[in-house]
């Protein structure tokens, strides 16, 4: 047992740090540090920089532009992205549809789509959840009916992140409603968002932003060559995708960066003639989160270090990463909100561009106007990717054997 980074791992971390600091524009990273979302254009810009250096898709098979990295290297890469407030490569492209096509797709699909996915020539969105299929995803009702060389898709998807920007959507649709189990009649289909019959309707979230949408499919015709894997076996793709999605799910780097920022900002917020950082009560709250985060980081490292030794069998400890990681992320957003205090009140429409240097109404606290929206928005992290209650059901069954 040796719990230190090896010299190679330290060198690799330095390489990653240098790359992100030098190649990713500082203004984009600063914006991220202040809690503001990168624009789609900025996300594309960053992913293309990474792709040029072969760093957008390290998790893919080597022949399709992946890296033969150890689990520890993959972890360090992800953490350094988060720790440097770099907009991460678009998860729908890089962690979801890319790996599914690389694993289940035809040669033609791989050749056509994978380079475009890596470079965000196509922006992808995820057509999984429906009004009646959230945690119970297999209950989805969207239908795809074969008509010659096409599927005709009808139905509704919801919570579709950035569908308003997306060029393509990977859709789970029911191709056999007669199947013995609901999971058995589902197919994984690639849909061009420009197809006639698709309507995207925005859902405004409590933070005031437009992040998610409803997507309606009304007799949308999709060529059958856009089926990935076998018809009616789309659930295999979905499970494969969800397993891949775990990468960096604990988001230790995000929480670390936020805590670092909270420590800095607290020294600038006035309190009783001193600053918030003079308040022992506040410092203890921060330290309490740091302890939980350190424990989570060690848990994450245990999982990664054991990955090869366990021969692909998931470590039981890995199942707590989502629960604990999301809770800690929420705690950091709470601390930032508390720090902002009354300066968190002013609402700034995220859609509205302010003239350069204008933040008068936040009384000089440029970061404070993002505190409340981030806090509101972060309620999502214990809901998406399988709510924390669903995660507890999974652990109870698979780890504790109930």
């Amino acid at each position: 047992m040796d719990l230190r980074y090896t010299a190679e791992e330290v060198a690799f971390r330095e390489e990653m740090r240098t790359f992100f600091r030098e190649k990713i524009p500082a203004d984009i990273r600063r914006k991220g540090a202040e809690g503001h979302h990168a624009t789609p254009e900025e996300m594309i810009q960053c992913q293309r920089i990474m792709n040029q250096h072969g760093l957008a898709t390290p998790n893919w098979p080597v022949e399709w532009g992946g890296k033969d990295w150890s689990p520890m290297q993959r972890y360090i890469y992800t953490e350094e992205i988060l720790a440097h407030d770099v907009p991460a490569p678009l998860p729908f492209n890089v962690h979801m549809v890319g790996p599914v096509i690389a694993f289940f797709g035809t040669e033609a699909q791989k050749k056509h789509f994978l380079p475009r996915i890596a470079n965000i020539d196509d922006w992808w969105c995820q057509g999984f959840s429906e009004p009646g299929a959230g945690s119970d995803l297999a209950n989805l009702k969207t239908r795809a009916v074969r008509d010659g060389d096409h599927y005709i898709i009808n139905g509704q998807k919801t919570w579709t992140t950035l569908a308003q920007v997306a060029d393509w959507c990977f859709v789970l649709a029911r191709t056999n409603p007669e199947a013995a189990k609901p999971q058995q009649g589902i197919s994984f289909i690639l849909v061009d968002m420009k197809s006639p019959g698709i309507t995207v309707r925005p859902i405004q979230l409590v933070d005031g932003g437009h992040e998610v949408n409803e997507v309606f499919f009304d007799d949308v015709r999709v060529p059958v060559e856009n089926l990935v894997g076998e018809e009616n076996r789309g659930w295999d793709c979905a499970k494969f995708l969800l397993a891949n999605e775990r990468s960096g799910i604990a988001r230790v780097g995000t929480s670390k960066a936020r805590l670092r920022r909270i420590r800095e900002l607290a020294r600038t917020v006035q309190l009783n003639g001193g600053t918030m950082w003079d308040s022992e009560q506040f410092r203890h709250k921060v330290a309490a989160v740091e302890i939980e985060l350190k424990a989570l980081e060690m848990t994450q490292l245990r999982v990664i270090a054991n990955e090869r030794a366990r021969g692909g069998m998931p470590d039981p400890a890995s199942s707590i990463l989502k629960i604990k990681g999301s809770e800690i992320q929420q705690r950091t957003s709470e601390l930032t909100l508390e720090l902002a205090g009354p300066f968190a009140l002013p609402f700034r429409d995220p859609e509205e561009e302010l003239p350069e240097g204008t933040n008068d109404f936040t009384l000089g606290f440029g970061w404070a106007d993002a505190a409340a929206p981030t806090y509101f928005n972060n309620r999502k992290v214990t809901i998406y990717g399988g709510s924390n209650e669903i995660q507890r059901n999974i652990i109870a069954k698979l780890v504790l054997g109930f």
Binding site: M1, L3, T6, E290, I291, A295, A305, I320, A396
Partner: protein, 383 residues
């Protein structure tokens, strides 16, 4: 980074588990040992010695086992799982490490063989009523007298202080009572004139004693380490002790969690096993999460207990203790709650784990104490 045990470490784990597991399988037997004058089994202590456990912290050149913090962790987990009563923590973790890190070569040559064969049992007479968890708060004082020293003062709650054959006593040789400088450690015979102690049982079935020193005379050769410099040594051993306690707690928490899972899967009410109820499943998952977080910090403490950077070490060890304490409290309370009435009885194991975990919480600092230390050390982010 590598979290796997080596073959030697696995061998150690298996043999310690076998020894302690068998000895403490029967709660009734434990109760009998508890009621003896020593409060533990001397025969079992002899077997610890045979396995080499009592030589664990000492180097092989000095006749020791050459164990580091990982080996300590392995043994202490077994102690926790078994609810062992022997003074391994008091005599070997505290006493042994004070000797290893503080004693002169001459003292080590004399003491280590006796510690290793089990004939010498040590206790650390350090805590005083006004000190609470502050390791540098010492009023007991020592004055030079001829070729030696005279000790005067009162020590409280000396763990296994009643059965130790020698005590390592901290005393002030200069400065104010709460200065970190000016503390000196002395090795004192338990039978020295002027030393009195009165053993009592502790809540978790172990033993403790207040120790009174009324003009106790010791020779110059009784000094462990450097005069006035004992504080730093106490801090170092305190950190090793917290790492060891973390491991004991994780051993106990893991066993208690397993016991609770077994109960949920067998106990029936309303015609079904109670583990079929989601509300209990989710609490069981939260216990599992608390256990894994504690285990992660147990490893972290083992890694950092001997770190050179004092600030990083302080933050890391205190962070581990806070996590261990929080997990111990949650798992202990949840286990009792989910067992219901049976968890409240003396005849069942769960309550004994609960009690030991609760006492570990207030050994070498509770959560509030360590939060203050982390704060002073500047936080855990860069540790």
């Amino acid at each position: 980074m590598d979290f796997e045990f080596s073959d030697e470490q696995r061998l150690l784990r298996d043999s310690v588990d076998r020894l302690i597991g068998q000895a403490y399988d029967d709660l009734g037997h434990r109760k009998k040992m508890q009621a003896t004058e020593l409060g533990f089994s001397e025969e079992l202590w002899g077997k610890y010695a045979e396995l080499g456990l009592l030589a664990l912290p000492f180097s092989e050149e000095e006749g020791g086992f050459g164990g580091g913090t990982v080996e300590t962790m392995i043994v202490m987990e077994a102690v926790g799982r078994g609810l062992a009563l022997e003074p391994f923590f008091a005599s070997i973790i505290l006493g042994g490490n004070l000797v290893r890190l503080g004693a002169s070569a001459e003292q080590r040559a004399e003491l280590i063989p006796q510690i290793a064969d089990g004939s010498l049992r040590l206790a650390f007479a350090h805590t005083e009523p006004q000190a609470r968890y502050d390791l540098n708060n010492v009023k007991t004082f020592a004055q030079r007298s001829g070729n030696g020293w005279v000790l005067e003062g009162d020590k409280s709650v000396v763990v296994h202080g009643d059965s130790a054959t020698k005590l390592i006593v901290s005393a002030r040789t200069s400065g104010n009572y709460n200065d970190s400088a000016g503390i000196t450690l002395f090795l004192v015979d338990a039978g020295a004139p002027g030393l009195s102690r009165r053993g009592f049982p502790t809540q978790d079935g172990q033993r403790g004693a207040p120790v009174s020193l009324a003009r106790v005379e010791v020779p110059e050769s009784a000094v462990i380490g450097t005069v006035d410099r004992g504080g730093a040594l106490i801090d170092r051993v305190g950190d090793i002790a917290i790492a060891a306690l973390s491991a004991e707690a994780v051993g106990a928490m893991a066993a208690l969690h397993a016991l609770t899972m077994e109960y949920l899967k067998t106990r029936k009410q309303f015609g079904v096993t109670i583990g079929s109820f989601q509300v209990l499943q989710h609490r069981a998952v939260d216990m599992f999460t608390a256990l894994e977080q504690a285990r992660s910090m147990e490893y972290f403490a083992a890694m950092m207990a001997t770190a050179e950077d004092a600030r990083e070490r302080r933050a890391a060890i205190s962070g581990a203790k806070v996590q261990i304490n929080n997990s111990a409290r949650f798992i202990g309370q949840s286990a009792i709650q989910m067992h219901g009435g049976i968890g409240m009885t003396m005849e069942y194991r769960a309550g004994h784990y609960f009690k030991r975990l609760t006492m570990i919480e207030s050994t070498f600092g509770d959560a509030d104490h360590h939060m203050r230390l982390i704060d002073r050390a500047g936080g855990l982010l860069e540790a």
